[in-house]
Symmetry: C2
Subunit: 202 residues, 2 copies
């Protein structure tokens, strides 16, 4: 089946995507209170009216941005780890590096602004909690898949969970200062420790 | 040498302490933007004038609160771990549990509000960065001491750093929901893994 190209719909989709990307950058760089629909529209080069047509309420824009960008960036990170790790001897280190790369990028910094605002805002919290649960499940599944380990083993499951918690902690340590030199050593050490712990006992 | 008791100075010190404690609670529960000197004074039951006498500027109050409460609570946590762990077989698990307890308490939730605000506020960031470095060093030193391990060994140093990053990540996972059930399993698993990793090779 062929579909007729619809330029108007394409334009609308492109505008939406520009708004979602600008929301993440705006949150990561300017913080929660400086991220309104008007601020994001300006950053994206979209008229305020068009932005409000797509996202009448600020919370809609922010949750849509988190959801879309999380899926796209986390999948990209783990795909990169898988294609790099396939031939590499140090697969675990490659996967953890990509994971930590994600958690120190704009997506995590943006999410941190929203999570922190939600801690003191019950209505926002209600929207964010299911999103957090979904992100947690997806990140776990993609990491298990990239590492190629068996999640039905409780020790493996818990160590992969711990690795995600570590990545989140390393993300937080990078919010105010460039923590990359210290982080590199931690990732290498954690990867070696995880490799030993995940190795089937003889 | 005996000192004459100075009731007025005692009262002033008590007021200051009440303000510092109220600042942490206010940040943790109501967030950054709802934590002004006036809000904290009201919560502490101190007149606005008296609060402003102690802390003319909001940033002074907040950094003083973080500094004082961090020292007091982190030391308490690690002292608890040491006295509990002295006779316990599972010293590592006790120390990590206390550490994680600290990172899921009001002190971490308060600090998170300040760190996140500082990410988008260069003047605040300048005040917070040295504090973050100091907290990191102190937490590391107290953890090394409580575990009774040798920090001059690079692997040990990095694994204790990773443990602190993990604790920070677990703290973040507890901001919006009660994550204690999952956390307990992670702590136990990491303690066992860390114990094996720190054991001198035969």
């Amino acid at each position: 089946m062929t579909t007729v190209r619809e330029p108007k719909q394409d334009r609308s989709r492109a505008t939406r995507l520009r708004l979602l990307e600008a929301t993440i950058d705006c949150l990561a760089e300017s913080g929660w209170s400086a991220t309104t629909v008007a601020d994001v529209a300006e950053r994206a080069g979209v008229s305020r009216g068009a932005a409000q047509h797509h996202f009448p309420v600020r919370e809609d824009l922010i949750t849509a941005a988190l959801e879309f960008m999380f899926d796209s960036r986390m999948t990209t990170a783990m795909d990169a780890a898988k294609s790099a790790g396939a031939s590499a001897a140090r697969k675990t280190e490659t996967v953890i590096s990509e994971l930590v790369e994600y958690f120190t990028g704009p997506m995590f910094k943006a999410a941190l602004q929203v999570w922190t605002a939600a801690a003191a805002d019950p209505a926002l919290k209600e929207r964010i909690v299911p999103l957090e649960a979904k992100f947690g499940r997806t990140a776990h599944r993609l990491t298990i898949d990239a590492l190629g380990v068996d999640d039905s083993d409780p020790a493996t499951h818990q160590l992969v969970q711990a690795t995600l918690d570590l990545a989140r902690g390393l993300g937080l340590a990078d919010v105010l200062t460039d923590d990359s030199a210290r982080r590199k050593k931690i990732v290498r050490r954690w990867a070696a420790t995880l490799d030993t712990a995940l190795k089937p006992k003889p």
